[in-house]
Every structure is written in structure tokens, then in C-alpha cells.
Subunit: 546 residues, 2 copies
């Protein structure tokens, strides 16, 4: 296959000629990789956790573009992915937990479901809400789904060649959203209902083995069975293959590169694992590190291919992950609940470790290289942002009311402003963050707009105090966490306390109540799901109803 | 989804405008459906078996185009499919049996394999050859494969939007040919290594169920699980969906519509089954009949869609099946070995029932409607024919030496000549066949060119006298069958004896030996595989070596 790509080089000139017209877009989404899992220092300093993983290509992308240091997504996968595709906040889509493989099956630990196991709910103070358990649907009237127009459909209608490779996980089987071919993609490889791969190994046929098969087996990869190709590499090779057509035909493309890596199962990418073992990491850590580096290699291979085909300059790359780093999985190695330090907690949680994720964006000539922007952004912003980049006007063409805002000015003018500030030497180490919060008159984004995440669910059959049934809102440097189980309100100042260690609610009762009101108002407006109280079966109170 | 198609109608005008330029091509391949399984009377008369199945759309296509009454393919699936993709005779590709799901596993009954079961070979007079058990490869140097350039790659390189839907089955997993994305297709739905579906039922998730899964589960259809959509219908809906992009973008398209129907398992398409039960068919027959009608409905739905989108006039439809009707499967109902009557035997056999199949072709303005052509044609002719239709010159662009010939003149000028003959009233019932054998100066096809099929294999763990280890050659009205087990040569005159009941070899010793020499010469030229003799391990003699 490599050979084929090289022959493609003859098409370089024409594709460049065309490239001037409309930008190609690559949305590179990594699974379960945390804010601290790469050498890219999203924090105000380089933390020890930044030194664990070798990620030269993420650094390379950061040097070519802008680092979004305050990028937020949902605590788990599907809500982030359906927010991205719909432009709606997860509390608004009412898809706040991941979709099961089978229709009408709740993934909540309370009330069981194939993903959560059958938890004994009798002891739980709260019971799961009747959320949209079947996910997103591009068609109306599908039970247990919300109906929205996916942005890839709008790109496709506007002449973009839309490609899906890897993890979909927007909807349960038996509903239209289960297939990328119903979500506006012209080409699909491997995308379906599974939220994780049965196996990353070609020797396991990626899970497609009699006796071992379950719904998480990865499809469309039979050509790699037994070839020793790690799933991350196989998906990368498939993605590169699919790019040849639009580049050769001078059509603008959108590539949704949805890696299963670095989600469980934690299975080593042996191209990279040994050096981490040699460096003294425990086996679980070494395996996880190799999976991160495998994804990093994929990013680099795609960047190399775009350069080789002469379209890199006209291709926007957006890199992010779908939730915080998983700090709950034993097999990942290391010490649990520390993987995202200085951030508190990880996947599943509304503390920063679960919702603040890596995000990078490059756009030659438009985005200033090697810059950082600290304005908070959120998953649903990608819908209007990507359509804005493509120059597609979606007014009147979509069925949903979107909550996100276009980040184009923030990414372009904002990054240039940040670059100037650095040049002027205004950067003085600590407290930089306020400097790189871009004024609204430049970015069109109010730096104080409320960033809301909402997880009215129990994640695992056992209780997770800092994960289950939490909501939060961030406004500027302030972060409010609402615990639905107890009704407790916690306030943190992220500038002083990014680790959310010191609850300052008691010192700031008015601000706490104001933020609780803002959070409640958003949830009320979106008709967000709240859990029910065990026994009374009444809906748990909103944060301003206490 | 239906709704979406209707909205597509707005694009009718432009697509028609474009359509004038290059013809679209639909290759509609049905699995295991026999020469006598439809209401289209390919024989010189309407036989009782023509009255079993309701196939209005096959009749509709026959009325719009030409009926090829002497179309030959291999006795089993993969050899036919790899001949079509490569333009080579199966004896030349050395893929003379179907490929297993797993690499390096023989499907022969002799020597076992997942498809054939482990037969006790000690008693067999012959042992399977070391054929290309891994199928066709678009890349060189893959063990157990033959390397060839698939024609979809040439179509794609020439600007065609190439779509694969349904059954692939060109190669074993772990080799490039396992994926349609490596065979020149831009889009793939469901195509992989399986030669049959695990289940046709959405309630079974088409085989994708824990505990029930095996390599025959059908991929990419999770959106239909539990919806009551028969596999034949699901693949049709997917095919129609994929056509929207090239039609809307005014790109010429090639659709490879590979139905799993009507292969085993024999599972009713309940849209149609009841009327066959009511008509008194046994349950197996009724199920099979409903599967045939399901495929017929698919053909009609595609024809309707092409008309609705305004591209029907500029779309060539080639309809055929991949081997003779299966007359060996008990669950199919009826009386075994009679399903293809008047033809002898069925799938697996080199008698007419196994190799002579339905073939229809329509091309508005170019092919005379409602005509029949009796010139023998064979699977490998489709490679040059399809490229000829598309106006693609493959000279110097392919790695293989092809054996097929373009049928374009036979289909166009030939059908027009046949139409004239009918008009002139020259058709007088019996013996028409010679009238509709088109002269070479019109068709470019020598009506007396040898048609060779070769099956040096044992199909099932039990002996099948009229199936195992046979080769044949047809020259005009004469047919020679060579039995490798016994060295026996049988001669039949197909004009007098289409059922191959009367072996006239003894009455025609010279012709018999001449045809044996022709068959042997072909097999020798192609370095065709012959089985080995159990005990001596010597290669079985060619038909002229006795």
C-alpha cells in the first residue's frame, strides 16, 4: 500500500492547485487519553506526568499550531461524540452516558446494562434517569434518541468528500445512527456501535474470532488478520488509503479519524513498548505508554502523507480526545487516580481530570504556530467551527438548536494575538493564563461564558465518590461542582488551584449560589435529565433548588 | 432513508446532463441461483422449472436488454469472482475452489478445511492439488495467491466512483484481497472474506451475536439489527444510499452489487414466502423461492432508483449469477438434482447445471431490447467487457495476461442482428439456437472458441460422482466432460441433448480426442492444477495423456 501512496505523488501539482480553494479538515479524535498523557504541556508548567510518554508528533502539531489549554468535553465517550456531531451540549441532547451495543439497553451501572453490569440498585440513593440511551439519530422518530443533522452531512452536501475511519459510537445498533453511512459519510471503515475494540491485535483478528467474539470486535480489517499490525496502525493505513481518492480527484475532504486507542483493553503496541519497560515503567504503564505513542505515530504518519501529497498547507488538523484520561483501570498501571495529576480524578468525573482534554489545531497561515490560547472551549463548539472553516452556512439546514460557537476567530486572530504577547515578552511564567484568554471583541467568544458538563449517572457497579452523579460549570477561573447525591456545592478557583483541592464555597457563598443558579438555569433550559431519588422516585433537585 | 432518496430527485437534471458522457455500470451478481430459477426462459422453451419463481424484475430487465443464453461461470463462487475481477480463466488463476475465511486453510473436502470438513482422504483415489488457496491479490508476493490488477482499480483510476456492496469472497483473511478497499473500490459496505452469510435475519444481527458468531457474520449493518429487514433488502438499501454521491456529483459510477442471496442458509424472505407456501410448495422450496424473489425485488428497486434519478438510460446493467443452482442442499426443498432440469446437476459440477447461469444485459440504445444471443460467453469476458464499456484502455496497465474477450460488439451489434432475425420471422421454435449464434465478423467473438471449466477438487466429505474432479470444454454445440478419477471422456451434443443424458463419445471418437486435446492444451498453457493420485502422489493425467 505504501507504494501506491508514492505513485500518488505524481498528482501533487494539481491537488495543490485545487487546494487553494477550500480547506481540507482532519478531525483526529483519540479515546481516553488524558490532558497529562503527552509531552505537550497544556498546563502552566511542565509537570512530571508530561515526561512519561514520547509524543513527538503531538509536539510537532503543537509547534505548527495552537494549543487549546482549556478544552472541555464530556466525562465519557458517546456524549462528547454526539455533541461534536450535533453542536449541542450533552445535557441538551440528553445523551449523557455512552450508548450500549444493543438497542434499548441502559449502560448505567444503576439498572444494569451490558457495559455497567447489573448493579444492585436497592442501596443507591439515586437511580438513573430515562436519558436518550440509543444516542443520536439523523432521522426523526427513533425511540430513545435525539434527532439532529450531523455536520458531516452538511459538509457532504456542500461537496466535501467525507470519510469515517475507526470508532463511531454515536448510537446503539438497530438505529440509523449506528452507521456512519447514515451520518453523512461517503466512506466508512470500521465505524459502528462499539465503544472499544475487542482486541488491538491482528493475531486476535481484532476480536473477530469464534468463541471470543463480542459486539466490540472491529470490522472491515480482515486483510490485516495475523499480520502483526496493531489496530492503531491498521486504522491509520486505512485512513491514508481513503484519502487518495479525494486528493487525486481534487475534492476537499473531511477525515474523521476516530482512534480506539488509548481505550481499554490496555494492549501493548510492541513497536514502542519495550523502551518504556526498559525505562523502568511497570508493565501496565509501559503498555499504555506504547498505545499513546502508537496514536502519536498515527498522527505523524497522516501529517507526513498530507505533506507528501502537497495538501498539508491547505488542511486544517483538529486534535483532541473524547474524555479525560482513564484513572480507574488497574491494567493501565501506575497509581490509580494520579495519571492526570495535577488534575483531579479522570474519565467519568466532572473534576478537571475527567473533562479537560488535550486539544491542538493547525491551519497554515491562519493559525499562529507554537501558540497557546486559554479561553475555555467545549465539544459542541466543533460543529459550528468545522462548518465555518469549510465555509458552509447551516442556517435553515439543520433540525436542532445548537449550543456551540464557532472558534474560528479564537483559533486564528486569537492565536496571532497570543503570539504577539509572547513576542512583547509579556509572558512571565505563572499566571500566564489570563494573558492568553482572548478578549471577546477579537475572538467572538465570551471568556466568561459558562462551560457546563453533566453526568447524572453511576459509572461502575461500585461507588465512585468523585465520579458518580456530578455536574459542573466553569465561568472564567471559577469552577462549581454539584454533587447530586448529597446536594453539596463545591467551588474552586482554577487559577490558584487547578487540582481542585480546596473547596472555597464557604468563603464565597454569593458566587457559589450565583454559579449554582447559572448551572441550574442551563440544565432547566435544556430539559436536562436528573436522576431520581430511590424510594420517593422524585427527580433529584437542580443545584438552585436546595 | 427512502425520504433522502426522494429529495435526491432535485438533482435529476444535472445528473442527466452529465450522464451523456460516460456510462454508469451496475454488475448485479446473485449467489447460487440457477439457470432455471427464474421466469426468464433461457432455454429454447419454457420449462416447468421456469414457472416456480415470481421474478418480474428479471423479466423486466430481459425485456429491456439481451438474454445471454449460454453464459458460463465456474462451478463454485470464488473462482468465478476472481475470474471476473482478473479477466483470467480460473484454471489460469489457479483459484479453482472457494477461499476459506482463514489464510492457508484449504476448503477442499480432501485434506479438510473449515468449509469442507475433515474428510478421510485415505480412501480417495485423488488428492487436492496445491492450488492458490488464498485467492486473488492486488499486490505481488502474497503466498498462495495469484497477483492481478482488479478492473475496479482501472475504473477508479479512470475517474469512476467504484462501489462494492455485499459479498466479496475473492481472498482469505490476512491477505490484501480480503478488503474491497484494496481491490479498487472507493466505497465498501459489507464486503469481506465470507462466502455466505451467517444469517439473513436482522433478528440474528446477520450473525453478529455472541455465541453464534462465526466468520460468516455480515459486517456494516448494525443499523438494521432487530428491524426485521432481510439481508437482501438491507444490502439493497445500502447500495441505493451509496449511489447518491456519484449521481449528485455527476461522476460515472460502477456498482458491484454482490448479493449473498440465494446462497445457504435457506432463510425465508417473509415479504414473499407465504404465497409460495399457499401455492403448495414444501417449506424449503417456499423459502428458497422467497429468497429468489427478494433478489428480484432488489434488482427492481435499483432499476427504479436509477430511473428516478434520471440515470437509467446511461446505466449499463449486467446481471448474472456466480455458479449453477445448488441442487445438493436438503433444506432447499424439492427433489435434489432436479432444480436445474433440464440441465444436469448443479453447483460444483462441470455439467451444465453447475456452470451455465442466467445472464442479462441492458444498455439503452446500444443493446436491442427483448433479444437473445446464444453465443457462449464466460466469466473472464466481463473484465475486458466492462473496461470496454467504460472506454478504459488497460493495455500496459495490468500485470496479468487476460483470457477473456470484450463482449461489447456481441451485446450491441449481436443483439441488434438477433432482433432483425426475429422481425424477419426466421425464428421457428426449436433449433433457434443456431440462428442466435452471432457470426464472428459481427461480434468479434468466435462462436467456436473453447469454453473451459475446471474443478480438480472434492466438494463434500462424501463422494459426488457428477461433481468431484471434473473438467469440461464446450466448442459450439459439442461438450466434452473429463472425469479425472477414471480418465473417462464423455461427449454430448447440447443442441440435441441439453440435459447431457446421452454420451456420444463412442460414436465420435475423433471429435472426442480432438476436444480432449483442446482441453489439455488449454490446461497445459495455463499451468492448471491437477489433483495428485493417492499412493503414487503423481499428478493425474491431462485428458490427452491417457
Amino acid at each position: 500500500m505504501k507504494l501506491k501512496h508514492l505513485t500518488g505523488l505524481s498528482l501533487l501539482a494539481p491537488s495543490v492547485a485545487f487546494a487553494a480553494e477550500r480547506p481540507n479538515i482532519v478531525l483526529f479524535i483519540v479515546d481516553d487519553m488524558g490532558w497529562m498523557d503527552s509531552a505537550v504541556a497544556y498546563g502552566e508548567q511542565v509537570y512530571p506526568n508530561n515526561l512519561r510518554h514520547h509524543t513527538p508528533n503531538m509536539v510537532r502539531l503543537a509547534e505548527q499550531g495552537v494549543m487549546m489549554t482549556s478544552a472541555y468535553v464530556c466525562p465519557v465517550s458517546t456524549p462528547t461524540r454526539t455533541s461534536i456531531l450535533s453542536g449541542m451540549n450533552a445535557a441538551h441532547t440528553r445523551v449523557t452516558n455512552w450508548t450500549s451495543y444493543v438497542k434499548d439497553e441502559y449502560s448505567d451501572a444503576t439498572g444494569g446494562g451490558v457495559s455497567g453490569g447489573i448493579g444492585d440498585t436497592s442501596a443507591d440513593p439515586l437511580i438513573r434517569p430515562d436519558w436518550n440511551l440509543n444516542g443520536m439519530s439523523p432521522e426523526p422518530g427513533i425511540e430513545g434518541t435525539f434527532h439532529a443533522t450531523p455536520f458531516p452531512q452538511l459538509l457532504r452536501d456542500a461537496g466535501y468528500f467525507t470519510i469515517h475511519v475507526g470508532k463511531g459510537h454515536w448510537a446503539a445498533s438497530g438505529t440509523p445512527g449506528a452507521s456512519p453511512y447514515n451520518m453523512g459519510f461517503v466512506v466508512n471503515v470500521a465505524g459502528q456501535v462499539n465503544g472499544a475494540p475487542r482486541s488491538y491485535y491482528a493475531e486476535d483478528h481484532y476480536g473477530n474470532l469464534p468463541g471470543r467474539w463480542n459486539y466490540m470486535a472491529v470490522q472491515n480489517l480482515a486483510a490485516y488478520y495475523g499480520t502483526g499490525t496493531h489496530l492503531t496502525e491498521a486504522l491509520t493505513l486505512e485512513a491514508i488509503k481513503t484519502l487518495d481518492y479525494p486528493i487525486s480527484h481534487r475534492q476537499p475532504f473531511f477525515l474523521y479519524m476516530g482512534h480506539h486507542g488509548t481505550h481499554t483493553p490496555i494492549q501493548a503496541d510492541e513497536r514502542f513498548a519495550q523502551k518504556y519497560r526498559d525505562a523502568g515503567m511497570d508493565e501496565g504503564q509501559a503498555r499504555y505508554a506504547s498505545m499513546v505513542e502508537g496514536v502519536d505515530k498515527s498522527l505523524g504518519d497522516l501529517m507526513d502523507y498530507l505533506e507528501a501529497r502537497g495538501v498539508a498547507k491547505n488542511t486544517v488538523i483538529i486534535f483532541l480526545t473524547d474524555n479525560g484520561g482513564n484513572s480507574e483501570n488497574k491494567n493501565k498501571g501506575g497509581i490509580r487516580h494520579t495519571h492526570n495529576k495535577p488534575l483531579r480524578e479522570g474519565k467519568g468525573s466532572c473534576y478537571e481530570g475527567g473533562i479537560r482534554v488535550p486539544m491542538l489545531c493547525s491551519w497554515s497561515g491562519k493559525i499562529a504556530p507554537n501558540t497557546r490560547v486559554n479561553t475555555p472551549v467545549i465539544a459542541e463548539d466543533l460543529f459550528p467551527t468545522i462548518l465555518d472553516i469549510a465555509g458552509v452556512d447551516y442556517e435553515g439546514k439543520i433540525v436542532q438548536d445548537i449550543d456551540g460557537q464557532s472558534l474560528v476567530n479564537l483559533l486564528t486572530k486569537g492565536s496571532k494575538l497570543a503570539a504577539k504577547a509572547v513576542k512583547k515578552g509579556e509572558v512571565v511564567g505563572q499566571k500566564e493564563q489570563n494573558l492568553f484568554v482572548i478578549p471577546e471583541e477579537v475572538s467572538g467568544i465570551n471568556p466568561l461564558r459558562p462551560i457546563v458538563l453533566h453526568y447524572p449517572h453511576k459509572w461502575k457497579p461500585y461507588d465512585l465518590h468523585d465520579i458518580d452523579f456530578l455536574s459542573c460549570v466553569r465561568i472564567g477561573e471559577w469552577k462549581l461542582v454539584y454533587r447530586m447525591k448529597t446536594g453539596a456545592l463545591e467551588l474552586y478557583n482554577l487559577d490558584d488551584d487547578i487540582g481542585e483541592q480546596t473547596n472555597v464555597a464557604v468563603n464565597n457563598p454569593d458566587l457559589t449560589l450565583q454559579m449554582a443558579a447559572v448551572l441550574a438555569e442551563k440544565l432547566r433550559t435544556w430539559k436536562a435529565d436528573m436522576p431520581r431519588i430511590n424510594g420517593t422516585n422524585k427527580t433529584a433537585p437542580l443545584p438552585d433548588e436546595l
